[in-house]
Point group: C2
Chain length 248, copies 2
């Protein structure tokens, strides 16, 4: 079915179910093949990509709404989800639904609450919905054009994530159960957008005391087999709560 017809059919119903003028946009990060990925959707018949998003039910907490929206898209529950910013400029979706009737639900002015999520790539199955004809992982290093201000939202999410590296551990939600130091280092490097010194990274990460070294190594690749680690979940959660870095 065509997008226009679908939107107009849903429009009336949405006014009854959801809070008006409010939306949620999710920036879902995954890590795969030594690169950072973002979940993106493409509306039927459109060329531009967008972030997965949705609306808040009239009788639903905002955080619950974000969780629900994410679960619909990924099939995964209990995802690490972090509200990071509100996008409330008047003109942020200007002209996007031009030609559609003015009372169309989707043509409202939206104040959007931005969340970012960190997920284990292999546990996620991107799910399309009625309005989209694509829901895929895109590489953060090589992004196509996005609709409305979704590229801005993505950039702000990345910079919020980058800030978080300075006082919280990361990786438990993004990496598989077992991983190597070079993989963890690569993750940091991609988020930060710069290369790090190997030895110094090893020592700094180990000093955090959130890693457990396993008696195994990742065989099979060329060259020396790197040691495998996993996170100590208890210490990791403590570090999440108490913060890592030097404070006043």
């Amino acid at each position: 079915m065509e997008l226009r017809q679908l939107l107009e059919e849903k429009s009336q119903q949405n006014y009854l179910i959801y809070l008006p003028n409010l939306s949620i946009d999710c920036v879902v990060f995954g890590f795969y093949n030594a690169s950072l990925k973002v979940l993106a959707v493409r509306l039927k018949g459109q060329s531009l990509w967008g972030l997965p998003g949705g609306y808040i039910q009239k009788e639903e907490d905002v955080d619950s709404a974000a969780n629900r929206i994410l679960q619909e898209r990924t099939g995964a529950a209990n995802i690490y989800l972090q509200q990071f910013r509100v996008f409330g400029n008047l003109n942020r979706s200007e002209g996007f639904f031009e030609g559609y009737p003015d009372d169309l639900w989707h043509k409202q002015r939206y104040v959007s609450i931005g969340y970012y999520a960190l997920v284990n790539f292999s546990e996620v199955n991107p799910v399309m919905d009625l309005f989209s004809d694509a829901c895929e992982w895109l590489d953060v290093q090589d992004l196509p054009e996005f609709m409305m201000d979704h590229r801005l939202i993505l950039d702000k999410a990345l910079s919020a994530l980058r800030k978080q590296l300075n006082y919280k551990p990361i990786g438990l939600s993004l990496l598989p159960e077992k991983f190597t130091m070079p993989e963890l280092k690569k993750l940091y490097e991609i988020i930060l957008g710069k290369t790090l010194n190997r030895g110094n990274f090893y020592r700094k990460i180990l000093r955090f005391g959130i890693l457990e070294k396993l008696n195994e190594s990742r065989k099979g690749g060329a060259h020396k087999a790197p040691d495998l680690y996993r996170f100590d979940h208890i210490r990791y959660k403590e570090a999440l709560k108490n913060g890592l870095q030097s404070e006043w």
Copy 2:
């Protein structure tokens, strides 16, 4: 006039002017008499205090709305204003307008966008509005009970501010033009909730390179007269943009 009558009169009008279900709450910090203050209002005939807040006009950016609301309350423009979090729980104002008609504007479910502001205490004149019978500075160390979830919002603002100390300079908006090191140290101590070592604080702050030492001292107090400093605005703004502390 009584609160109820006032609210009911404004109610209809508000539906025309503002976006429904959305509000803004401002945590306005000031520094005076060696203690941290917060601007609070009290609704007519109510015992509990609340944060100054307001609504977003249908044709207004969210950030502009926050600025407008603050200017109405403080008379000051160009205030340092920072969005820090959305409060979107369903039950956050539960029962507050019990007994009022269900279609009252103020009885809606609100998703509130939290901002904190840093202002120069002496440049602010707290302004009451129609609905309140008090608008005052309260001491952060000695707070009364607040309505709804406003105490939570205040606490989250403080902790956001505390986090900001780790990567941004502070003080330009809170202190007078000229100030002493003990005053700046006191400001940090109050925000952080702990005492700092004098010598180490001096050196660390000076190393930031955002202070200019003046050839004056604050005479008049007992004991040795402390040197006066002021911020180098150019370097201060650079530090605000680039961040201060150690990063990856």
